[in-house]
Symmetry: C2
Subunit: 334 residues, 2 copies
């Protein structure tokens, strides 16, 4: 018998919720009969969007009137207390009623409320926010994406271990290859923190991952490494700069492709290929940031994604649980 994976879902976070969340669950459930969705939020709202086709034994609704808003500061969100849909979803994991929690709501609030409820994994100093990022050969794990502005060498070493464990949980057939993001490939480049982490990682013989040294920003998507560690400030700027560049380029392409009649016609002819291209780079494919370092798994969906993006982050949750992420992190630290 397959083990049922229980996902605690905050239905009230992000744009166009709870509709997007329920549509995402419905979409995900069609291909997954081994997942149970514990859905937290305003049941009167939620019920409007539950279709007859959603298998009744695949979900449970847990009502609350209260929710965290996107405009709440992390602290004011936490002060709202235990009756918000976000807190209750987290609590459900804490009480072992769910295996993992997913929210498309306020990132800072989710981070703070998760930290209040979950313990840190032993020997990890700081939790980190990790994300998926396409590369030529597949997918990168990049961390930290903004949880820690200032990092120590110990943090970068922790990120290497946790990022590798996450990579192995998601892609069990591949080997994690770790690199530190820097501004040059020579050993002498970078600040002291980075150089010390480099020295440590070069001299250890990890069975968990290969250490590949430094990479520069232009090599992130080359596919030669798949776990990229950096401080939260640099990681956040890099991720958002890549997003901005991708948007800029696709807009420029659209402009020129439709700037003349012949452009429009040949674009129409080529529409299948353009769809293929869009599919390869669809940000919804990479939706879901994973908090690492806590003793329970927490996933944040992008607030502005649609139901397909949300469904992809449900799939990410499933893989994290079935890949035994937390166990893998603990083993990597021993």
């Amino acid at each position: 018998m397959t083990k049922i994976i229980k996902i605690a879902v905050d239905a009230m976070g992000g744009d166009n919720s709870p509709k997007k969340v329920i549509d995402g669950i419905n979409y995900h459930q069609k291909n997954n009969n081994d997942v149970f969705y514990k859905i937290f939020g305003d049941v009167n709202e939620i019920k409007k969007f539950i279709p007859d086709t959603l298998y009744p034994n695949s979900f449970e609704l847990i009502h609350t009137d209260e929710k965290v808003k996107g405009s709440d500061s992390p602290l004011s969100a936490a002060k709202k207390g235990k009756n918000t849909s976000m807190w209750m979803a987290i609590d459900s994991v804490k009480n072992k009623q769910s295996d993992i929690v997913l929210s498309a709501g306020n990132t800072g609030a989710l981070f703070v409320i998760a930290k209040l409820n979950f313990k840190m994994i032993e020997n990890i100093d700081k939790p980190a926010l990790s994300g998926l990022w396409p590369n030529k050969n597949g997918t990168n794990i990049v961390l930290d994406l903004g949880a820690n502005i200032d990092c120590s060498e110990k943090n970068l070493i922790d990120f290497s271990l946790m990022g590798s464990a996450l990579f192995k949980a998601l892609f069990p057939d591949e080997e994690p290859k770790v690199a530190i993001l820097n501004i040059g490939s020579e050993e002498i480049k970078g600040n002291e923190m980075i150089k010390n982490a480099y020295k440590y990682l070069s001299n250890q013989n990890s069975k968990i991952f290969d250490f590949k040294g430094y990479i520069e920003g232009n090599e992130i998507m080359d596919g030669n490494v798949n776990v990229i560690v950096t401080d939260g400030f640099t990681g956040n700027v890099a991720l958002k700069t890549a997003e901005g560049t991708a948007n800029f380029i696709t807009n420029e392409i659209k402009k020129v492709m439709t700037s003349s009649l012949i452009g429009k016609i040949s674009t129409l002819i080529n529409i299948k290929n353009i769809k293929l291209f869009k599919k390869r780079l669809d940000p919804r494919l990479y939706n879901g940031a994973i908090f690492l370092g806590l003793d329970s798994p927490v996933v944040k969906s992008h607030g502005s994604t649609d139901y397909i993006g949300f469904s992809n982050s449900l799939e990410l949750c499933k893989k994290i649980v079935s890949g035994n992420l937390i166990e893998k992190i603990k083993q990597s630290i021993d």
Copy 2:
């Protein structure tokens, strides 16, 4: 009578030099009769590539056997002494025989030899490396791109002034709009250095530029600001990440556009538009990094660019001199 602008050109730096350099000069000279090129390097090599069409009164060859290599460390390059083509080109500006120096050679060496020969502008603490970056409405100046890994709030303030002066020298009809690169738009985000620079810039009433607060990585190309300041580590990672993302996307497009016969045919039909797109984003258009903070202007061409890219950095040199960059920086500091 038009003032003749004298550019000291290191002919021996970068890939495929001196051919690329001389071809670039030839290409540039065709549209510019108010520029004089002082060309430093191995005259026997250089002469091979000088075409009959290059106007003889537009250039002068100054011979030296010695040159800085791409593999030299900055210090070992400096230790080679005063007879390298790079040093001699810089010296020509120091002795007022040229107005500006351009090299496609070793960046670190150019930086160190320039610092040895030129004085810092009074009240500027550190020189910075600035670059051009496309945005929706035109061009950004971004600095620092890697000269200073650790920066103080005073550095960021200096960068705002110098970047604005450069913007004004290059685009006299537009107003500089400065922003600090950060990981959120709220005042409380970022490290102490950034917050202090933000406070200072918010409270001053610069006649030189508008201060627009923080921007995030995804907003760099939005065109709402045009001078973006950050520390050298973050700036370097952001620039290279944008380059890597742009390469990744254009490769993916190429792949899908030519993955089927119909794709190939419609791409052929659309070739004019694709050329238009390439032209808009051609990195050769943005070739040339400018060292700011020294009392003489220094421009670094990308080592791997071709003669058109090199010619564009000659054009950048011309604009910097005719826009009175150094004067503008000095005025902005008073």
